[in-house]
């Protein structure tokens, strides 16, 4: 196979700027009496406080007192201490850390969208309702579904919403099965959501292909099963080729099939969950449709359903009336609302813009190349970091550092840290749980072949260094603002808020 010249197109190869001191907290920068704000003069007279006399706060909250200048410097420096997609590649498996287009930032700042009060009557939000309807339609077309709620503010919230609909569906039929099947490779939010929905988890095992074991599935499917939650491609990056048979088994007992859309980036425009037979699908707009992750949110996890489940969707939904005007509509058997308002609206608007920009061909190309990049990198790395399973991967793949550990003592976590030193973010480690020393790698389609090559070269260098000088890797990272942090100590004696006495550095 051809090796390309390594060129760090998206590699954070820049050298540091200045200083290696920790940044003080804002509380340490505070000086009594200092202020950043300046009041408006609205002409409104001051009202006596007697009315709330007994309630008055005895002492103002101990917030910091800083100048705008120092606040700006503080948060500018904090930003300089953070890795981001804009700085370099982020092959964090399952998270789909692709490039987030900048024009979507302009959408989120647009006054006509951002300055709208959520309780504005329908006639004052026709633009917003149109956008939401169009996004709902697009997501339904992409997933092969009939209707959708845009309320869930993240994937996990979508899961819970879907599970509540499964419950509503069964109850509407006078049934109440109590178990949900999930594979042993599933993401942690799946079982956690199952519990929150008042269900019990039944685990189905993966076989040695890395796919759901059909025989084990037969073992766990019965009348008590309300549904199954699957990710496809699954969290190993492998397509569950038996998906039809799986859903057949599940549907046969009257259960519903839920599609965790966290891996939708592998298949847009080529394969649709609805066509596989799923009944309910969430999509993580902050993954597949590139709304930025914001350091851990906000996201959006719309849930789309087949036609006969629309009646259970959380309400209200935007719908066009006979007069052409858009209105809020409550599905007749709605499970109720799952968000105080209409979901993370500005995140939805970003995704709307992303879809408009791409069009059908652009979206198909996006997923195709996400798969190609992963497939290529999987193969490129196979010599130094073998994949956990033989199947060709979809948009991500899981390698195992087991051999590396056994021969050199270098573990998956060490490889991850050493990658940071080399200007890349680390892959996901130790997930899925069923792979020993797992490193889950998802390059995404926005990384160029040259960047993939540089990434591969970094992995190779880490493995080669491990063989020669394992301590150099197990002591990594070295080029970061702080070295490995004492996580055990942090959990043993938690310091969750700053206080004068206890600045956390003892």
């Amino acid at each position: 196979m051809a090796h390309r010249a390594a060129r760090p197109g998206a590699q954070a190869s820049s050298a540091p700027l200045v200083g290696r001191e920790p940044e003080p907290t804002i509380f340490e920068v505070s000086v009594p009496g200092r202020r950043a704000d300046a009041p408006r003069r609205t002409g409104v007279p001051s009202a006596p406080l007697e009315e709330i006399g007994p309630w008055l706060r005895s002492e103002p909250a101990a917030l910091p007192e800083v100048s705008e200048r120092d606040l700006v410097a503080h948060y500018t420096r904090l930003a300089a201490r953070n890795y981001s997609v804009d700085l370099g590649a982020y092959p964090l498996g399952s998270c789909t850390m692709k490039y987030n287009p900048k024009f979507a930032d302009d959408i989120a700042q647009s006054p006509g969208l951002a300055r709208v009060h959520p309780a504005t009557p329908e006639s004052g939000v026709q633009g917003w309702l149109e956008l939401l309807v169009e996004l709902e339609e697009a997501l339904c077309e992409i997933t092969g579904m009939a209707a959708a709620t845009l309320q869930p503010p993240a994937g996990a919230a979508g899961e819970l919403t879907g599970l509540l609909m499964i419950k509503a569906y069964h109850r509407a039929q006078g049934r109440d099965p109590h178990a949900i099947i999930i594979p042993d490779s599933a993401h942690g939010t799946n079982p956690a959501s199952v519990t929150l929905a008042g269900y019990e988890v039944r685990t189905v095992r993966s076989d040695d292909r890395g796919l759901v074991s059909l025989s084990d599935l037969e073992r766990v499917v019965d009348d008590a099963v309300a549904g199954i939650m699957l990710t496809n491609p699954n969290t190993l990056g492998l397509f569950e080729r038996d998906v039809e048979r799986i859903l057949e088994l599940v549907h046969a007992v009257g259960a519903l099939a839920y599609y965790d859309g966290a891996n939708l980036n592998a298949i847009v425009g080529s394969v649709r969950p609805g066509d596989m037979g799923f009944d309910i699908v969430h999509s993580n707009l902050h993954k597949t449709f590139a709304t930025p992750h914001g350091g851990g949110g906000p996201g959006a996890g719309p849930v789309a359903v087949r036609a006969d489940l629309e009646r259970f969707l959380p309400g209200p939904l935007p719908r066009r009336g006979d007069d052409g005007k858009l209105r809020w509509w409550w599905p007749p058997e709605s499970i109720g609302n799952v968000h105080a308002f209409w979901g993370n609206a500005l995140v939805l608007a970003r995704a709307w813009g992303f879809l408009r920009y791409h069009g059908p061909e652009g979206l198909r190309r996006m997923s195709q190349v996400a798969v190609l990049n992963a497939r290529w990198l999987q193969q490129r790395l196979s010599r130094v970091l073998p994949s956990a399973f033989a199947e060709p991967c979809m948009h991500e793949f899981v390698v195992s550092a087991k051999t590396l550990r056994d021969t050199t003592g270098v573990r998956a976590a060490d490889v991850a840290k050493a990658l940071l030193d080399r200007g890349f973010h680390a892959p996901t480690v130790y997930f899925p749980l069923i792979v020993d020393e797992a490193l889950m790698i998802e390059p995404t389609e926005t990384e160029s072949p040259e960047t993939l090559e540089a990434l591969a070269a970094a992995f190779e260098d880490i493995v080669a260094t491990s063989e020669r000088d394992p301590a150099a890797i197990t002591s990594a990272p070295h080029a970061t603002p702080v070295g490995r942090l004492d996580e055990v100590g942090a959990a043993r004696r938690p310091v969750l808020v700053w206080s004068d006495e206890d600045d956390g550095s003892d």
Partner: protein, 440 residues
């Protein structure tokens, strides 16, 4: 065809050759053909970014935007506050916006330290021991508070005041009932305060809002007593801005205090992304939902921050996690932290006071015009009974550029009004005159 795929055709061909394929479609060959779409998605064609932004401007002009074509007198968990330019600029730095959850702390100290500061600021504002690193919104935080109470008490009965915002109550019902929670509501009296005397039996949580959704300041001492009598945790849904002016729920012995954080400088945004605040007492730290950031040190003794007490979380604890939350609202938490630091100790008091003044001036003007104001004592929201269908009045006033409060589902002639620091005397005078004309 737009896309952010950087590959040239030559590069695609070379990579395909490397993996032994001839075309991109072959990547999907392992998938049974009948599952493959075999046609293009039926979606609008691709557009240039300038065209997308023009469409957005068109859609935006079909909305009534605050301060452009609408003067807002509505709150209900979404307030028209000034957003300091520095706050917006700092929060929107790409290092924050385009980062993932801080799984690798060595290269995530920026986000982690910001969240540590956020936790501290929020705990101090609400008068509690600790705060988590954010939840989706005020409704989700209320639901999680109930979950914590259920886990702490192992009781399944939850008592919720009707003073809690309607959509928060319904979210508790939506997400609680299917798992077997018994959600009981307790009403308010003619002063719009919760009838704590009506609360009997035992429960996991007594949920009360402070000030409540009618703007009325509740008596949290009475609430505390009622909760104790129920054997329940006292859960308070607070207004974080009001808490700069009035004693925070923590001072009355609340067990869990949650809030909608939008008032901490987050734009109206048609309802989201907003920010769920979650605070509690140290005793319950291991039951806290979501992310917690803690201070620690590295090998050289340098201060640093990590996500901590991770065994509560879904990725480790799975079906026994305290919550399913994964992606939360980090960027908004950073935003709020910056805003709280910009406002500062006295600035938050002054801001709360400016809102107090504006709302009370509006109430005074309305009373002078003969409109009855309900729900005193209040901080910045109050009820007026229009005596006519409030939805129709709002519709009419919308056409004239006023957002005349929020509706109360149970009381079709009521509206809850507010006025923020951004409302001038002239706006308030004009609005009061106009609204008074509608009142019977």
């Amino acid at each position: 065809m737009g896309s952010f795929v950087p590959h040239t055709d030559d590069e695609l061909a070379a990579m395909l050759a490397d993996v032994g394929l001839e075309g991109l479609d072959e990547l999907y060959e392992p998938i049974p053909a009948r599952l493959r779409l075999g046609r293009e998605l039926s979606l609008p064609h691709a557009r240039a970014e300038a065209e997308v932004l023009e469409e957005i401007e068109r859609l935006g002009s079909a909305n009534r935007a605050a301060r452009r074509d609408l003067v807002v007198f509505a709150g209900g968990g979404a307030f028209d506050h000034d957003v300091p330019a520095a706050v917006r600029a700092l929060a929107l730095q790409s290092a924050f916006v385009t980062a993932y959850t801080p799984y690798q702390p060595e290269v995530s100290q920026g986000v982690l330290q910001a969240l540590f500061e956020f936790q501290t600021l929020v705990a101090r504002l609400l008068g509690m021991d600790l705060a988590n690193a954010s939840l989706y919104d005020g409704a989700a935080a209320t639901v999680e508070a109930v979950n914590l109470a259920v886990a702490a008490t192992k009781r399944h009965r939850v008592v919720v005041s009707r003073g809690v915002a309607p959509r928060y109550r319904s979210a508790v019902a939506t997400l609680g009932r299917p798992r077997g929670l018994e959600v009981v509501e307790v009403g308010v009296d003619e002063t719009l305060a919760t009838r704590f005397a009506d609360v009997t039996g035992s429960a996991s949580a007594l949920v009360v809002a402070y000030p409540n959704a009618f703007g009325r300041l509740e008596d949290l001492r009475a609430a505390r007593d009622a909760a104790t009598a129920l054997g329940a945790l006292l859960v308070v849904v607070a207004d974080p801005l009001a808490c700069a002016l009035v004693e925070p729920p923590g001072a009355f012995g609340a067990d869990v205090v949650v809030a909608e954080g939008q008032s901490l400088g987050i734009p109206l945004s048609f309802g989201g992304p907003y920010l769920g605040l979650f605070t509690t007492r140290s005793a319950y730290v291991r039951l806290v939902p979501g992310r917690l950031v803690g201070a620690t040190v590295d090998g050289e003794g340098r201060r640093g921050y990590v996500t901590t007490l991770r065994t509560r979380e879904q990725d480790i604890r799975r079906e026994r996690a305290t919550s399913n939350v994964c992606t939360n609202q980090t960027l908004l938490a950073i935003w709020a932290a910056i805003n709280l630091s910009w406002r500062g100790r006295q600035g938050m008091v002054d801001l709360a006071r400016a809102n107090y003044d504006a709302a009370h001036y509006l109430a005074l003007r309305l009373e002078q015009l003969g409109v009855r104001v309900l729900g005193r004592p209040f901080v910045r929201e109050f009820v007026v009974d229009l005596g006519v269908d409030a939805a129709e009045v709002r519709e009419r006033l919308l056409e004239e550029g006023w957002l005349a409060g929020v509706l109360v589902p149970e009381e079709p002639t009521w509206v809850v009004l507010t006025a923020t620091e951004a409302r001038t005397k002239e706006e308030i005078d004009a609005f009061a005159e106009r609204l008074a004309k509608e009142v019977r």
